[in-house]
């Protein structure tokens, strides 16, 4: 009896010890892996700064970069090798997925944690978290250094102007095409109906209506509609610009005002409402996914950056060779032609002060970034690797079918997308490029891009959300005329008037009045 209980006691004890061992090892494993992570991230900046003192040694850099495709570039990517060899660097890149606000959340968290990489891409540079970071000195101010570099000194002026905060630049703006927005439409539908490419807003409405009602795909069913829209309501923004109104914020009667207080906007909004009520725009657009209805052959046009036409419908055109996609940017309005423009840049490549402690290192990094603007690097990023992505025949660069190109490496490009070797383009690509270049002067830029307003920084986003909600409700008929006016009035009272005042003051100051 006694010995029996002793045995069971022992085995119970043994069991306990086993359990314990398992638990502790798993716990230790968790601890140690966390530790490794922390030490790795903290150790690397210091070691890289030590290594970089010798100029012949490659410059070691930690880079935080956005990843837009499903998978990050591989560590043995030929692009990485080419960049490292050309710029004499050793890059340790953290690719952070960029879906939704994931990248921006990660940047916020990284800035908050204080352990920053040597080079970081920051997006939405004029919205509070990143704006605060720039103004409170997290990053080096680059303005005084740029003139010393071959390529950096020749950066796009509009990009620099719009990316600056009170005339100071806290990162390299990545240059983007200015007059980039327009209409993308089904040329074959247009031909089926015997219609002409729309030249005015009125034409546009008529074509969209015909796409909705006259069976443009000739399948005998009433299953199409005119315009694919999504929650961003791009059509509304472009209609406003075609009417001669501002793109976001513009100058009117000596004041910097938002689009939605202008008459040009109101007529665009009413046209939009009419289109929704006539089913030209599907009434579920606030939850629709961009491109989906167009790619499914349900919608005949949509509004976006027109280079989308060359990249977003490849599968659709492959599945149905009859499909022809075309683009247009020029619409005659009461004050001539206008094109909704971008800010001329996208995101900043910034250099944090906490990881790059001295000017010497800063200059080395700038040298690296300057080299990224050389023709050789622009060729690499814009055209790819010779022999893999393109071949040169008789002095002409031809794309190799199925080549993937630079994929996410293009995020390293701050220079022009037309730099470097020119690849032979499809007719559509050529047309897009011609429009980009030819319409440069027609671009309407959002004036607020280069202006500062304390009130806007604090609550501009909340105020704006109420307005976009009201826009959506108004066009869907959930809000009447009075409701819309109330929403605008509420915006004004809630701080909008103050934003107008502050932007106007800043504008007058900048333009030297």
């Amino acid at each position: 009896m006694n010995s029996n209980s002793n045995v069971s006691g022992k085995s119970a004890k043994f069991f306990k010890v086993i359990c314990l061992a398992c638990l502790t090892t798993s716990l230790l494993a968790a601890c140690s892996s966390a530790k490794e992570d922390a030490s790795a991230s903290s150790a690397q900046p210091s070691s890289s700064s030590a290594a970089s003192t010798a100029s012949t040694k490659p410059l070691e850099l930690n880079v935080m970069m956005i990843q837009q495709l499903a998978e990050p570039p591989k560590a043995d990517s030929p692009f990485l090798k080419a960049i490292q060899a050309y710029t004499n660097t050793k890059l340790d890149i953290s690719w952070i997925p960029g879906a939704g606000t994931a990248y921006d959340d990660k940047v916020s968290a990284t800035i908050a944690s204080g352990s920053l990489p040597d080079v970081i891409l920051i997006r939405r540079t004029k919205e509070s978290p990143n704006l605060n970071a720039q103004m409170s000195g997290v990053f080096w101010e680059l303005t005084p250094y740029l003139k010393d570099y071959k390529n950096l000194s020749k950066m796009s002026e509009i990009a620099v102007q719009n990316a600056s905060i009170s005339g100071k630049l806290y990162g390299l703006p990545r240059e983007r095409v200015l007059s980039r927005y327009g209409m993308i439409f089904r040329k074959d539908w247009l031909d089926n109906l015997g219609l002409q490419e729309p030249k005015t807003v009125d034409d546009l409405y008529k074509v969209a209506k015909a796409f909705t009602e006259n069976d443009p795909d000739k399948d005998g069913k009433n299953n199409t509609f005119g315009i694919q829209e999504d929650a961003t309501m791009e059509l509304l923004k472009q209609l406003t610009v075609y009417n001669g109104g501002p793109n976001g914020w513009g100058l009117q009667d000596g004041k910097v005002v938002p689009d939605f207080v202008t008459t040009e906007f109101k007529s665009a909004l009413d046209l939009y409402k009419k289109m929704v009520s006539e089913k030209i725009v599907s009434e579920d657009f606030p939850i629709a996914k961009k491109y989906d209805y167009f790619n499914q052959g349900k919608a005949g046009m949509y509004f976006s950056v027109i280079d989308d036409a060359t990249t977003r419908h490849v599968d659709m055109m492959k599945a149905d060779p009859k499909v022809q996609v075309d683009v247009a940017e020029n619409f005659d309005g009461p004050t001539g032609q206008h094109v909704r423009a971008t800010f001329g840049y996208d995101s900043l490549i910034a250099i944090p002060k906490s990881s790059v402690k001295d000017e010497a290192k800063l200059k080395e990094i700038l040298t690296f970034l300057d080299k990224m603007g050389d023709d050789a690097m622009l060729t690499l990023i814009n055209a790819g690797v010779e022999g893999v992505d393109y071949n040169v025949e008789d002095g002409k660069a031809k794309k190799i079918a199925g080549a993937k190109g630079s994929e996410d490496w293009q995020n390293f490009r701050w220079g022009s997308q037309f730099g470097g070797i020119q690849i032979e383009k499809t007719p559509l690509e050529t047309k897009v490029e011609t429009l980009f270049k030819g319409n440069f002067d027609l671009g309407v830029v959002d004036l607020s891009a280069s202006l500062m307003s304390e009130t806007n920084t604090q609550k501009g986003a909340d105020l704006k959300k109420a307005i976009t909600d009201a826009e959506t409700k108004y066009v869907l008929g959930a809000l009447d005329e009075k409701g819309w006016n109330d929403a605008v009035e509420k915006w004004r009272k809630g701080g909008g008037d103050k934003i107008i005042e502050e932007y106007t003051a800043d504008y007058n100051k900048n333009s030297g009045k």
């Binding site: 606000t101 916020s108 978290p129 997290v138 929650a231 009434e283 606030p286 939850i287 869907l476 959930a478």
Partner: protein, 315 residues
Amino acid sequence: MDMVKQTGALQKQRRASFWQRVKRHRWFYIMLLPGMIYFFIYKYLPMWGILIAFQDYQPFKGFSGSQWVGFKHFETFFQDEMFWNLFRNTFVLAIYNIVFFFPMPIIIALMLNEVRKESFKRIIQTLIYVPHFVSWVVVVGISFLFFSTENGIVNQMLSSAGKEPVNFLLSAEWFRTMITSQVIWKETGWGTIIFLAALAGIDPQLYEAARMDGAGRWRQLWHITVPAIRSTIIILLILRIGTFLDTGFEQIFLMVNPLNRDVGEVFDTYVYSSGITQGKFSYSTAVGVFKSIIGLVLVMGANRLAKRFGEDGIY
């Protein structure tokens, strides 16, 4: 003097017996340790973070460098016109949840309990667990497929029945119904687990005795089954009330759009949109703290109430 000595000795003895007890059960305590460390590191340490609700927290200045502002953020929040809207939305959704969702697993568990064929019961049980493992993104995606006005199945059925299509996803009236039905679809099966476990623990002799006394199915259900799982129901209800205001961020965030934001914005989504996306860390922390305080008050209230009605409560 003697007394003091005596009590001192008693205390010493008690202390000794405490340590003795610890020593005797040391393996259990050591096994408990990882759990305690987990709670300390991940639940108690971060609680210091709520202090930033009383600061003007700037990430680059850090915790020590940021300015203390007292209750400023709470005041701004209470005066914000969004406040009552958020409060109402959160409460209404929570009440919907308790009224419509909470009884569901109980009903299903009772029904399963009455199923005679064991294999059939098992199959059903397994099948209704499945939706729990489907993520909210997918659930919302499925809802979009079913309920959109652009070839959603439900609307196609409505129109073939000669009725006007209903814009389920883009209207304020349908929002709460949609949210609550999604929760019911996804979590009811999973919720039955605990109740089924409680039901399995009922002594079969009770049923036998009841049958001897001539009790039918309904009588047995009412006088044996329900009282037997009553304390489980109460405990789960109290726990549920503790997370009363956790309306679930993901689901609502995915379902909200301009047309239903007036009824859809709740504390959780507001914390995200005003905190993370706009960098107002202190303000959103204040909102979160406020929410937690309400949760605490509700739990304590519910617990007291349960005790008053002669139940055990959770502490």
